[in-house]
């Protein structure tokens, strides 16, 4: 696996709002739909064996092996201040790249890829929960629901994150 190409994908986050139409990988966490720009997504994984990491922040679920690379798993539920996932509930992961490091975002389920027009985009409502506002770049109005756009770098920049 070559990681030489990966850095080129960075830096897209800030521009999400500007361009006309954007592709997002959608996912659901606690019945809420979220989206991540498709270019930042490396992989979608099903259930994985995860090694717990003692003394790590609670949001860090552990680490796993993805084709010979070690990926740090982040429980997005805990990161968003949601209750922990019930044990029997299935989970899926989206692997993203941040500054050459791979992170696996554990969510409830991963949906399809949507191409969304910037006309449906809106900034975060001022009343949005502060933890969500911190990690979201904005909201897309879909036909029957709202999709929260997650900013990967902000999502991974939580307490105890040291200089990369």
């Amino acid at each position: 696996m070559s990681n030489a190409k990966l850095p080129a994908k960075r830096g897209k986050t800030e521009e999400t709002i500007v361009s006309g139409s954007q592709d997002f990988v959608t996912m659901t966490i606690a019945d809420q739909m979220f989206g991540i720009p498709v270019l930042q997504v490396q992989d979608v994984l099903g259930h994985q064996r995860i090694t717990r990491i003692p003394l790590a922040p609670p949001e860090v679920a552990g680490s796993l092996n993805l084709r010979g690379r070690i990926v740090t798993a982040i429980d997005v539920r805990l990161r968003l201040g949601l209750p922990a996932r019930p044990k029997d509930k299935p989970k899926m992961s989206i692997v993203v790249d941040l500054r050459g490091e791979l992170y696996s975002l554990i969510v409830d389920s991963v949906g399809e890829v949507l191409s969304l027009s910037s006309e449906d985009f809106e900034r975060n409502p001022a009343t949005l929960d502060i933890r969500w506002r911190e990690v979201s770049t904005g909201i897309y109005r879909l036909n029957n629901q709202l999709m929260v756009v997650l900013d990967v770098s902000r999502l991974l920049n939580f307490a105890n994150m040291e200089a990369a």
């Binding site: 092996n65 740090t72 040291e162 200089a163």
Partner: protein, 682 residues
């Protein structure tokens, strides 16, 4: 004939190495699968793959190997020059120069080796005349010897000089406050010799013959430990000294012992494992407890034990077998301790990979890796465990050594002065804030302006009792903690000074009483932590009329932004800086600071901690310097690490100056300095 060698870019070799490491892991995985399936048609081809991979790995490793002689090439010249300079006759012997080791390791040990040879020639060997007097040959000998031993490289540097002078080391240890006379008498010669590895041990008085010996030894030790090596020392007075360095062959692949604790597996680098002991109620070894601390009798010595489970805060599994514990006897330097684990598996060759940035602050781990079965495993760092198991390190077998480890690694520990005052729990104050301890004769206390004062070093020093019900007696002596700030000082009257301890200060209960920051467990007791700032302002406000003095008149309006994640330091520094005439704004994190920047706030100087969760101080400095509105605001870094390298890193990130965390005088001085320089430049 055409040349038989070609030049190859090192990056290419590194890349090749990584690829082969991955290949090895994949092969291990395949072999694991094969083992579970009998009579597979893949058996034969896999066997072949296995051989080819092993040979490939060996071959690639060889491309990175260089004879250690390459690192020694300059030594004969160095020794010749030294001999000339010092007027000694020195014979340098180099054995095993063709011993090969990884070029990465070679680069890293080059400087420490040079340094040690220089030390041996300079300080270890006597002059020719001295040598003849003690019946040795006039020519002194320095020997370098390198050889392989069980996957490691051993390098010995020995001289036949005067050896270490135990008495002089003892003297210096007492002088530098590293140990008391009483402690020294209980130490073995070996332990006393370890003092030369302590930071700054001999820099104080280089004139004595023994002192120069230790210059930079702590640096040598740190460098060697950084690459997973150890250093030992043997010295006999009059016969010479030998330093034995043990380093891994390569950094890329290490042999590790796989252990299990509370259902989780961990790897312990084999280099630090001395032996394994099984302790069970029916075996000859049982774990005994001293006030809850587990220890093990091992060959007539008490071995301090660390429970991996409690150290890593792992949950006990249900139905876990408590009768049987395995103890991994681990050695860090000369300090030996046991790590208690539930099970011990095999040893495995592992490829060390750095942990993700968000986990790098956890000292317990030196990396992580993927095992043959494809699972991820954390690699324990014996150095981190040794220093984290603070309490048990004060034990037989390695006092000198462990304290050295502590000073090097334990950044959040601080020396605390414990004392009694006004009844109740013991009180504590950071020792670094206290300038001096004095015993004041009560009869010499005078009243001035209704306040008790004492004449102290030609000046009047206000005295503040901690106990509000304190009554002045006309006789007897009372201990006083002297706090000094610039040329002013104040004394805090206490009842009794108890002890000085080094502990991690975690204020657990915030106090609502003025003058206290809260309570913490110190030396096993609930202790009130004094808010020194409260008393300082009390003395200064009452005594000097206002919260500033002439020396800070100009800076009075200066606005300081203090960025520190620890509430303790914010509480500590805020009063201190306000007393010194600064207007202080504090924030908990670099992000908050940057928010202030965006919000249009401006400051004359920013003081920032380096180690912070979230954005670190270095990142913060880069962000500030990188075109933010504050890019011209001077930045002062505040850190518990203040080595030359940290300083450099800080400078590169954009800090103007660097101050050690507990050094208030330096902080105030640096602030004043930075501000005046900045004004000068502007």
């Amino acid at each position: 004939m055409a040349a038989q060698t070609i030049r190859v870019n090192v990056d290419l070799l590194e890349n090749l190495m990584t690829m082969v490491s991955e290949l090895v892991l994949t092969r291990n995985q395949l072999l694991q699968i094969l083992r579970s399936q009998k009579d597979s048609e893949f058996a034969a081809p896999l066997q072949r793959l296995n051989h080819v991979t092993s040979e490939l790995q060996e071959g690639v490793m060889k491309t990175r190997m260089q004879p250690i002689g390459n690192a020694w090439a300059k030594l004969p010249r160095l020794v010749r020059d030294l001999a000339h300079e010092l007027g000694k006759k020195i014979d340098l012997q180099m054995l095993g120069a063709d011993t090969e080791l990884d070029r990465q390791v070679l680069e890293l040990i080059k400087d420490p080796l040079t340094h040690m040879v220089r030390n041996s020639a300079d300080h270890g060997l006597e002059t020719g005349a001295d040598r003849q007097r003690s019946g040795k040959s006039e020519t002194g000998r320095v020997t370098l010897n390198a050889y392989h031993e069980g996957g490691h490289i051993i390098i010995e540097i020995s001289d036949d000089g005067r050896g270490l002078d135990i008495e002089k080391i003892k003297q210096k240890a007492v002088q530098n406050g590293l140990a008391t006379e009483a402690e020294l008498t209980t130490m073995s010669d070996q332990q006393i010799q370890q003092f030369i590895m302590k930071p700054g041990f001999s820099t104080a008085a280089r004139v004595t013959s023994v002192s120069g010996r230790g210059v930079g030894m702590d640096v040598v030790k740190t460098n060697i430990e950084k690459i997973g090596g150890t250093i030992e020392m043997k010295s006999t007075k009059g016969k010479g000294s030998t330093f034995i360095i043990k380093i891994p062959l390569t950094l890329a692949i290490v042999s590790a012992l796989i252990v299990e604790c509370a259902g989780e597996r961990f790897a312990i680098p084999q280099i630090s494992v001395v032996e394994l002991v099984r302790a069970a109620s029916d075996s000859e070894h049982t774990i005994e407890r001293l006030k809850g601390t587990p220890v093990l009798r091992l060959r007539n010595r008490l071995l301090p034990l660390v429970s991996l489970q409690s150290l890593l805060r792992l949950d006990r599994e249900d139905g876990a077998n408590d009768d049987e514990t395995f103890i991994v006897v681990t050695q860090v330097g000369t300090y030996t301790f046991g790590i208690m684990v539930d099970r011990v598996f095999d040893t495995e060759e592992i490829v060390v990979k750095p942990v993700a940035p968000i986990l790098r602050h956890i000292e317990m781990f030196s990396g992580n890796t993927i095992l043959g079965d494809g699972s991820v495993i954390m690699i324990l760092d014996p150095n981190g465990i040794a220093s984290a198991s603070g309490e048990i390190t004060i034990s037989e077998g390695g006092r000198g050594e462990t304290t050295a480890v502590q000073t090097a690694r334990q950044d959040d520990r601080m020396a605390l002065l414990l004392f009694m005052a006004g009844g109740g729990a013991p009180k504590a104050v950071p020792l670094s804030l206290v300038a001096r301890l004095e015993d004041v004769d009560m009869a010499s206390i005078e009243l001035s302006n209704g306040q008790p004062v004492v004449q102290y070093r030609g000046k009047l020093m206000p005295l503040v009792p901690i106990d509000p019900a304190f009554e002045r007696h006309n006789e007897g002596r009372q201990p006083v903690l002297v706090f000094a700030d610039g040329d002013r000082s104040m004394g805090l009257i206490v009842d009794e000074i108890l002890d000085i301890v080094e502990e991690k200060l975690v204020v657990q209960l915030a106090a609502d009483r003025p003058g206290y920051m809260g309570s913490a467990i110190i030396a096993g007791k609930a202790t009130d932590v004094l808010d020194a700032g409260h008393y300082l302002t009390r003395a200064y406000k009452d005594w000097f009329g206002s919260s500033s003095s002439e020396s800070f008149e100009e800076e009075r309006a200066h606005r300081v932004l203090l960025v520190d994640d620890s509430p303790f330091f914010r509480n500590l520094l805020t009063p201190l800086l306000s007393v010194a005439g600064y207007s202080v704004t504090t924030v908990e994190s670099a992000n908050e600071a940057l928010n202030l920047c965006e919000a249009g706030e401006s400051f004359d100087v920013i003081v920032s901690d380096i180690e912070m969760p979230g954005m670190s101080g270095l990142e913060f400095a880069q962000a500030v310097r990188n075109g933010s509105r504050w890019q011209d605001t001077p930045l002062v870094a505040l850190s518990s690490h203040a080595s030359a390298r940290d300083l450099d890193r800080g400078r590169q990130a954009g800090f103007d100056d660097y101050v050690a965390k507990f050094d208030r005088d330096a902080l105030l001085y640096t602030l004043a300095q930075t501000l005046s320089e900045h004004r000068g430049a502007a």
